[in-house]
């Protein structure tokens, strides 16, 4: 079996002023896997994302225990700049990620490559490739500030894709977007997942997450409450609700029907699955 791209081994972390933000977190991400991280606000999800590219602890300081190894590099032994070619981190607010030095979409995507000293011809090739991947062709010369929220977030994804990271980490990438923006961003993530990218995504949109994640990690108060396949975790209805996370509506509905009516239906996690199961139950398949 191939070496996992991400190994988080008994990770414990405290910010300088906030103790135990992460406590004994352990998981692995294989190449081509999509891992979803869910949990209530303050669960430590964003901190975990920042631990994957070394911002925790290099940028924030604090106390850290355990190990985080990404693409064979121990994050404690490498700088954030070195890790930037291995881990691409996309933040919640797309505007926060703009370099401030680029006037066009093209220049914005090129920024990271420029910082890493990639030759000009290679920059051009990679920028065009990344822009195509997120579907922003034709907007290369547009100002990043003129884009819609969804377009800006896709631009943010392009900026990290251009660096060809081994793992893409998205920290609530649709949190600040309207429904159209969310749809645009999820389309890109789904496409990247289908192409075999390794992705770690923090998301509150459980229903969307259920459609493209392989595994899910449930965090609460810095601790792992559940970790397993998307189906295993999302069907832990009681556990999810106990920490303030809503399971997919179709899963919850089926769970309640099973419980209240003594049925034994398979609990779906996507609308598509639910349609299939209920069609059979209702005999309209």
């Amino acid at each position: 079996m191939a070496e996992p791209v991400v190994i988080v081994d008994h990770l414990t972390y405290s910010y300088p002023a906030t103790p135990n933000v992460l406590v004994d977190v352990t998981f692995q991400v294989q190449k081509g896997e999509v891992l979803g991280i869910i949990g209530p606000n303050g669960a430590g999800k964003s901190t975990l994302c920042k631990a994957l590219n070394g911002l925790v602890p290099h940028f924030y300081g604090g106390r850290i225990g355990g190990r985080v190894i990404v693409a064979g590099m121990d994050t404690m032994e490498h700088s954030v700049a070195e890790l930037s070619t291995k881990v691409g981190l996309v933040f919640q607010d797309p505007e926060d990620q703009l370099s401030g030095l680029a006037l066009t979409v093209y220049e914005e995507v090129a920024f990271g490559l420029m910082m890493l000293g990639v030759p000009k011809e290679e920059i051009d090739h990679r920028v065009r490739e990344a822009i195509k991947k997120v579907g922003l062709e034709g907007l290369e010369q547009r100002s990043p500030f003129e884009l819609s929220g969804g377009q800006q977030q896709r631009l943010a994804i392009a900026t990290v894709l251009a660096l060809k990271p081994e793992v893409l980490v998205l920290d609530e990438p649709t949190a600040q977007l309207d429904p159209i923006g969310k749809f645009e961003v999820f389309s890109v993530i789904t496409k990247l997942a289908e192409e075999g990218s390794t992705i770690v995504v923090v998301e509150h949109e459980i229903e969307e997450l259920a459609t493209f994640t392989d595994n899910i990690l449930l965090l609460d108060q810095g601790r792992v409450k559940a970790y397993g396949s998307a189906r295993e975790v999302l069907t832990m209805v009681e556990k999810l609700k106990s920490v303030g996370v809503d399971p997919p509506s179709v899963t919850e509905l089926t769970h309640i029907l099973n419980k209240e009516l003594g049925l034994n239906l398979e609990e779906p996690i996507t609308l598509e699955e639910a349609f299939k199961i209920y069609s059979e139950v209702l005999g309209v398949a």
Partner: protein
């Protein structure tokens, strides 16, 4: 930077040198006529480059009130320590009050000097592609961190203005009164400082994290998309500045500083 005129296409360094050149001459020579010429030329260039409005608006907000308030005060007998040369007498409530040349000159020339600096600096900033400016500064061997500090500072200003507006609106929505006097209004604006500072610091930290995540500190030689090189138009621009300098030198040597220079006034006041 929407338009694409010859002003936009000039090398950032050429426009920066223009900013230094006009400011230097405006401060060396105590001459309101020279200042007016510089402002007129800069505004003409700004109009051609389609950035006239923000520059004119800034000058109107900063410079005109200054002249309108300071000049009458400085021109009066106790308004300026060097007042000696009476140029006019005005009658007010039966009294004759002298208007002094020195105070009047000082009150007009100083704001105009500032106007020269502001207008040429804005022309430089509003017509220069920042990516090209970075390339130009790298070529001039300015350290990259220093370059970023300059650019980020320029970018922070509109961000802070937006943020201040948002915070102000939030406070108005929570009952902050707007129908108050100037002093109270200033007090309210001071109250914005703490949330604005915290929010700005937060934004700066997030921006720093985002930059760091994209290899900002990578210890490698950076690549730049644009090569900074002076072209024929830049040399023409320099030539015009050189000819203008020679012409000004000729005028000053042969005709004196300005029409004001022909009138007696105390040494040391005019700069």
């Amino acid at each position: 930077m929407e338009a694409d005129t010859v002003i936009q296409r000039l090398d950032g360094r050429a426009k920066f040198i223009y900013f230094l050149w006009t400011s230097f001459l405006a401060y060396i020579f105590y001459d309101y006529i020279l200042n007016i010429i510089f402002i007129a030329v800069t505004l003409a260039l700004a109009a051609y480059a389609k950035v006239f409005k923000p520059i004119a608006l800034t000058l109107a907000i900063i410079i005109l009130p200054w002249i309108a308030i300071a000049t009458p005060i400085l021109s009066l007998p106790l308004g300026f320590p060097g007042n000696e040369t009476v140029i006019y007498m005005i009658k007010l409530a039966g009294y004759e009050i002298p208007i002094y040349l020195e105070g009047l000159g000082y009150g007009i020339t100083w704001p105009l000097r500032i106007a020269v600096t502001i207008s040429s600096a804005m022309l430089f900033y509003l017509t220069t592609n920042q990516a090209r400016l970075v390339a130009a500064m790298v070529k001039s061997r300015v350290p990259f961190r220093a370059i970023y500090m300059v650019i980020a500072t320029l970018q922070l200003i509109p961000l802070l203005v937006d943020e201040a507006n948002t915070i102000y609106q939030a406070q108005v929505s929570r009952g902050l009164r707007t129908d108050v006097g100037v002093v109270k209004k200033i007090y309210y604006y001071i109250a914005l400082v703490i949330p604005l500072t915290l929010s700005a610091l937060n934004k700066v930290q997030i921006r720093a994290i985002a930059l760091e995540s994209r290899g900002f500190s990578a210890p490698v030689k950076k690549t730049f998309l644009y090569e900074a090189e002076f072209r024929a138009r830049d040399y023409v621009f320099f030539l015009i500045m050189a000819l203008a300098t020679a012409f000004l030198a000729y005028v000053y040597v042969n005709f004196g500083y300005s029409p004001l220079a022909h009138i007696k006034y105390p040494k040391g006041i005019w700069g």
